[in-house]
Symmetry: C2
Subunit: 351 residues, 2 copies
């Protein structure tokens, strides 16, 4: 109950498309921004799924969501530039910023704002060195989302100050009881990254994308050419099958299964005394408060691992704001395993 | 005669290994440094091919040679650090350095040193800000190599000054009439990058490796985890077949074919008046002097492209030292195409 990766294999139609590309045998470099057919397929996905027009020319296919983060931050940051992000958030974000010699400003968030940044927080923490604001909706580790209204306010505030918004939408598709709208519906000036890893269960293929504001397309292309040469060929050809109806039947069924798991795990943890103050509506994460049992979530997670045989992720992976009270719990495993995990936790906590 | 990519498809045993991995269906994240089986296979490759012991723990599997460059420079550079490299050299090297806020110091080289850096040049250009020296043997765009003796002197000079050597060996295997020895035979303290792209014809798979000095292994692992999560799963499993005898039969036959092409193209260009002062002994590049025909190789390449229908790469891609006199010519195309290309060049030059 620790790993941030779907337990489902890649859907069969994607595997088949990969097989066909492999049989043709010429596994070569592609254009730095990806094969045109995939960029166009992603563009159509925005049209059909979100009713938002995103021209293929603005879409860069990347080496996973990771590649998209590197490219977006690579074209935006100069040394010393600050990037605002929520605490807790995806651990690698602050390290990408650090690797590019920028500075990550972690803004403490709580259940009050669904563990997300608000426009008011961005205003409060803005400095002359601030260049960008990173958001994730749904978020890792909390599974919470940013409402359209809040996103509009965040974009307005950030753009008014001459900064850039980077919005991580890699858990889109994995939302429960609601659909996520893309931040691209608000403005062409937002960097949006997405991935085939989570909703399409293509983690090991290393394939994602970045939607780029018009003024940055050429810069992103040059940087992609230098840093990556091209995204993986097979993953691109396989991903062409991701948006097909027969694939979406599979991914939607799995989405329903993730929802069943969340609907089991959330009340089960709460009953055990591991409070989850905001109902997570996306991804496959719960951010639980373990302070009833321990004031050191790292030591607690270790105890749980060795004594109960359940793996949980301590809060310190995700930031510096009250990490010792928090654990991330994932439901990237079967209902059977989740039931067993909860039973073990129960025995351990009620010793 | 322009592209830096083998025209041969990936060898069949590698395709078959990829197919098997694909059929198993669980295309997931791997450890950040790669699957143990591949790290061990690479370690054995050093033992059998080079008679050098390189423990698997020091081998990081990377997203192509590009990923290896990013990781090596990422753990070595602080803002303002200087990296010495030859001019001409692989264009992306200076951009990797720039992206990480270092400074590339291009050192002019000529036929006199086979277009390679020497220990004397490193000494002459060393500054208090110098952190690393980048070498490539065989080199892109010149196809020249660094002798063992010269490499030893380069390592001694660089290490004596507290700097690090990064040696690009991605064209190893593609050497003609000689075998390349790895720089790892000289010291464990050298960063050596290699790739499955060129000799194993796996460009589009995006898979390479970095051999890391012991003190940097943990740093490279952390950076790889943050920037890439993992190298592509399928490419890793397919690459397991790269070192098998049946694959090496194919790659060695293709190496012989590259040699035949070089042996045709080198005298043909020379006869046309495109001088190649150093015989290239590796890769698939010739660095030709076109000053008999033009003092602007960019305009000349454009003319040749549109009027003769032959694509050549102007020198300015590779540096600032006399780029206007030089063109890179590749032999990554069939003998038939090379003959046709030379005939077209002849008609064009003898108008």
């Amino acid at each position: 109950m620790e790993v941030g990766e779907p337990d489902f294999p890649t859907p069969e139609p994607i595997i088949q498309a990969g097989m066909q590309a492999l049989q043709q045998g010429h596994i070569q470099y592609t254009p730095a921004l990806g094969i045109p057919a995939l960029r166009e397929a992603i563009s159509r996905w925005y049209a059909t799924r979100y009713h938002v027009e995103v021209p293929a020319e603005r879409i860069a296919v990347t080496v996973g969501g990771s590649g998209a983060l590197l490219l977006a931050l690579g074209v935006l940051l100069s040394p010393g530039d600050e990037v605002l992000m929520s605490d807790p958030s995806y651990p690698c974000n602050r390290h990408f910023v650090r690797a590019l010699e920028g500075r990550a400003t972690l803004i403490p968030t709580s259940a009050q704002s669904d563990y997300q940044l608000t426009a008011a927080m961005v205003e409060e923490h803005w400095s002359p060195a601030t260049a960008a604001v990173m958001l994730a909706s749904p978020s890792n580790p909390t599974g919470t989302m940013i409402s359209d209204l809040a996103m509009r306010a965040l974009a307005a505030t950030t753009h008014a100050r001459g900064g850039r918004l980077i919005v991580d939408e890699i858990y889109h598709g994995l939302t429960y009881g609601c659909e996520a709208q893309t931040a691209l519906a608000i403005s062409d000036e937002i960097f949006v990254l997405n991935s085939f890893s989570k909703y399409f269960q293509m983690t090991g293929w290393r394939i994602g994308w970045l939607v780029v504001p018009p003024a940055y397309i050429r810069e992103v292309e040059k940087l992609a050419q230098h840093l990556f040469i091209s995204p993986p060929y097979l993953a691109q050809h396989a991903a062409l099958a991701a948006f097909r109806p027969e694939t979406l039947l599979i991914t939607e069924a799995r989405r329903a299964e993730f929802q069943r798991r969340r609907d089991f795990l959330l009340p089960a943890l709460t009953q055990l005394g591991l409070a989850v103050p905001v109902t997570p509506v996306g991804a496959f994460y719960l951010y639980a408060d373990c302070s009833r049992f321990s004031n050191d979530s790292f030591a607690f997670a270790e105890e749980v691992l060795y004594q109960a045989g359940v793996a949980l992720t301590p809060g310190r992976d995700f930031g510096q704001h009250l990490p010792e009270r928090h654990l991330r719990v994932t439901y990237t495993t079967s209902m059977e395993n989740l039931r067993e995990g909860v039973a073990r936790l129960q025995r351990f906590l009620q010793r």
